[in-house]
């Protein structure tokens, strides 16, 4: 201290190091880290002791063990002889399936209801408001239960199931609809679809460039529809229609054939879509209302019709407001899909719980949960951030 003072003649008295914010910050962080390390050491010590007492070995070797339980809903081959690791993969795929289909449905329903909430039709506006206010204010788990025990399990038995159009049936075992059975040469159809998408992309790009250069428009939408539907059909015809349809048949006790969507999946998927749609509707409404009124007046002044103006002027600007909160709703839906365990749908969480009961590997299971859910969340937010950056205002 004295040396420093001597080095700066006439300088004011330096404050004591005790009051230096930098020193205080470093000391505080050191103390914090030390306390944390102590806690961690205590926890690890106790955990090792507890695990030793209950004879549980640590590590992920258990994943190669035989699972011994069966899973009813699965996307890949699995039997009770498969490993725990494969069971977890089945669960993860189920989680992704519910989340992805729920996100698509919730988005469509949510946008529809959000637009209805702004409709100039009083009755539709009020109906949309009632929907939003009901479903925003009750727990998602309750909606899942209600659909599962209150609606879907009260459907009639397979022998008197409801007959729906296109040869599909609805009964207490779920929803049955015809399944396409692809024969030899079906790759032509897939190739047609792929080519259709690729061509449509290039047509859209070319049409855009031409419109920029010459001002002439090209019917991109109609061409794309024609390409995407026409090319697979052409492929189908070229391969000689290798397609048979497997219709579900009503048996005495159960349905045979067709594709079956089980009530567990249906109630989870419908409940998550209905619940999340209420939140998305509010986000959409706020987004559209967030576009200044001057924009509406401006497109009218340019001579655009309301529908064109909505599509070309209002919606692109509203999307900028909508996308960030929409992302968090998607993440919420994905996380809420873990409620599947309450109705016995084998998602990641339910299967992890079963494995925990069999093996007692609590820490490993929690680590697996953490890693998988965090990576799903991270992937979703990365995609939405990319989409957001694409839609964001480009300031020059």
């Amino acid at each position: 201290m004295a040396l420093q003072d001597a080095a700066r003649p006439g300088g004011s008295e330096r404050a004591s190091w005790f009051y230096d914010p930098k020193v205080r910050g470093i000391v505080f962080q050191l103390v914090l880290l030390a306390v944390l390390a102590l806690c961690l050491w205590w926890i690890v010590d106790n955990t090792i002791e507890n695990l030793r007492r209950s004879n549980i070995s640590t590590g992920f070797a258990f994943l190669r063990g035989r699972s011994g339980f069966d899973i009813s809903d699965r996307l890949i081959d699995y039997s009770s002889d498969s490993t725990y690791g494969r069971a977890l993969v089945v669960g993860m795929l189920n989680t992704v399936l519910v989340a992805a289909s729920g996100i698509v449905t919730a988005t469509i329903l949510g946008f529809l209801i959000g637009v209805l909430r702004l409709s100039n039709n009083w009755l539709l506006r009020k109906l949309a408001t009632v929907y939003v206010e009901i479903f925003r204010n009750i727990p998602p788990l309750l909606v899942i239960f209600f659909l599962y025990v209150g609606v879907l399990s009260l459907l009639p038995l397979p022998r008197d199931s409801y007959v729906l159009p296109f040869g599909s049936y609805l009964n207490s075992r779920g929803f049955y609809f015809p399944r396409f059975v692809w024969g030899d040469g079906s790759w032509l159809v897939a190739a047609g679809l792929g080519l259709g998408v690729v061509f449509s992309y290039f047509v859209a790009r070319w049409a855009r460039a031409r419109q920029m250069a010459t001002g002439q428009q090209f019917p991109v939408f109609r061409t794309s529809v024609l390409l995407i539907l026409g090319l697979p059909l052409l492929g189908l015809a070229a391969a000689g229609f290798p397609l048979t349809i497997d219709f579900p048949q009503a048996g005495t006790f159960n349905m045979t054939g067709g594709f079956n969507v089980k009530p567990e999946f249906m109630s989870l998927y419908l409940a998550l879509s209905i619940y999340t749609a209420a939140f998305i509707a509010e986000i959409v409404r706020a987004g559209i209302q967030g576009v200044p009124r001057g924009q509406t007046e401006a497109y009218s002044a340019l001579g655009l019709r309301p529908r064109q103006g909505m599509r070309l002027v209002v919606i692109p600007q509203a999307m900028r407001i909508i996308i960030p909160p929409l992302t968090s709703q998607y993440l919420n839906l994905t996380k809420n899909s873990s409620l599947a365990v309450a109705i016995g749908f084998p998602d990641l969480y339910a299967i992890g719980g079963t494995i925990l009961n069999q093996t007692g590997q609590a820490i490993e299971i929690v680590v697996i949960f953490g890693v998988i859910y965090l990576s799903i969340s991270l992937l979703t937010s990365l995609f939405m951030n990319w989409f957001n950056a694409k839609m964001a205002l480009r300031e020059r």
């Binding site: 910050g25 505080f28 962080q29 914090l32 880290l33 944390l36 926890i43 106790n46 955990t47 002791e49 507890n50 695990l51 007492r53 100039n120 039709n121 009083w122 009755l123 539709l124 109906l127 206010e133 009901i134 925003r136 204010n137 009750i138 727990p139 998602p140 788990l141 309750l142 239960f145 209600f146 025990v149 209150g150 399990s153 009260l154 996380k335 809420n336 873990s338 409620l339 365990v341 309450a342 969480y349 719980g353 925990l356 609590a362 820490i363 929690v366 949960f369 953490g370 859910y373 965090l374 969340s377 991270l378």
Partner: protein, 385 residues
Amino acid sequence: MQEHDISWVRTEMALAQSAPRSEVGPAAWLRQNLFSTPVNAALTVLALLFVAWLLPQVLNWALFSAVWTGADRTACLNAEQGGPLPSGWSGACWAFVGAKFGQFMVGRYPVDERWRIYLTAVLFVVLLAPLLIPRAPFKRLNAILFFAVFPFVAFWLLLGGFLGLSYVETPLWGGLLVTLVISYVGIVTSLPLGVLLALGRRSKMPAVKLLSVVFIETVRGVPLVVVLFMASFMLPLFVPPGMSFDKLLRALIGVALFSSAYMAEVIRGGLQAIPKGQYEGADSLGLGYWQKMGLIVMPQALKLVIPGIVNTFIGMFKDTSLVLIISMFDLLGIVKQNLADSNWATPQTAKSGLIFAAVVFWIFCFGMSRYSQYMERRLDTGYRR
């Protein structure tokens, strides 16, 4: 010679004309709001048909055909199912809700001790109501009583075991009691924890910042059921052998950690919206860090994010229903458990019980959201033209 003067001044006001028939009155309202275009008219008719199809069914099921009293399941069965009601009958079985009402509210809490819950509930309402009414006096005292004194009194009253009250173990608790206890604890602990985490995330100290970010992002990245799962399976591993945790306490720890992470993000949003000048102003006044935050920044930031905070509260209130998954019986859990009671097993029981639970949840959540809108309008001091 008379001069023609074309100027003319009206000496009396023209009589006010009534607005055109097409602009006012019910008919005009109908035309403007329901039948403005052909498409609109068609949509209106469709919506009307939908309402006319749905509403009578709902009212009939919930009110007119409902069974209000009864001793057991036979009261809610129709002739085909072997009951007294006419065949084809379908209606709500409120008798089930009536018979189980006590359980739905407090679980298996001993009947002789239930006065303790009622006393706690009365205290809760008496302390909360004046806190919510802006004009009520003694706000500071009231807040201290509600947030600092009430938890201890409620702990003593509900759990007991000392000062003359018998011990009621938490596995006996259930129903709305558990829902409210978990949400109250979640709300009271998540706000201060959330403030600390939000400040930590914006701190200039790298270690503090890193720890806050890791905690917040990890907890927000996984579902609440995983956090509850951790709390219920891993907490017992973390403590020395022989020491055991109460199940309710584990759920409370899980919910508090989970909601504080969400609260931190909401409050961080508010902190980011405070202009830099406010921080610099506080610095130039010579305020220390905690004074600066407590007196200048936080009051403005919290005011900005009231809607977000209340949304988090509502989310937390709804999320308490997930403790069902670690086999605790909150309101939804106990309704679900009672659906398995064979004395009341009818096709209508599940719907009636779940709709009752939905209505209770709805009243609480809707009340909270309306109150937050009211507060938002009241605190909206300026900025609005």
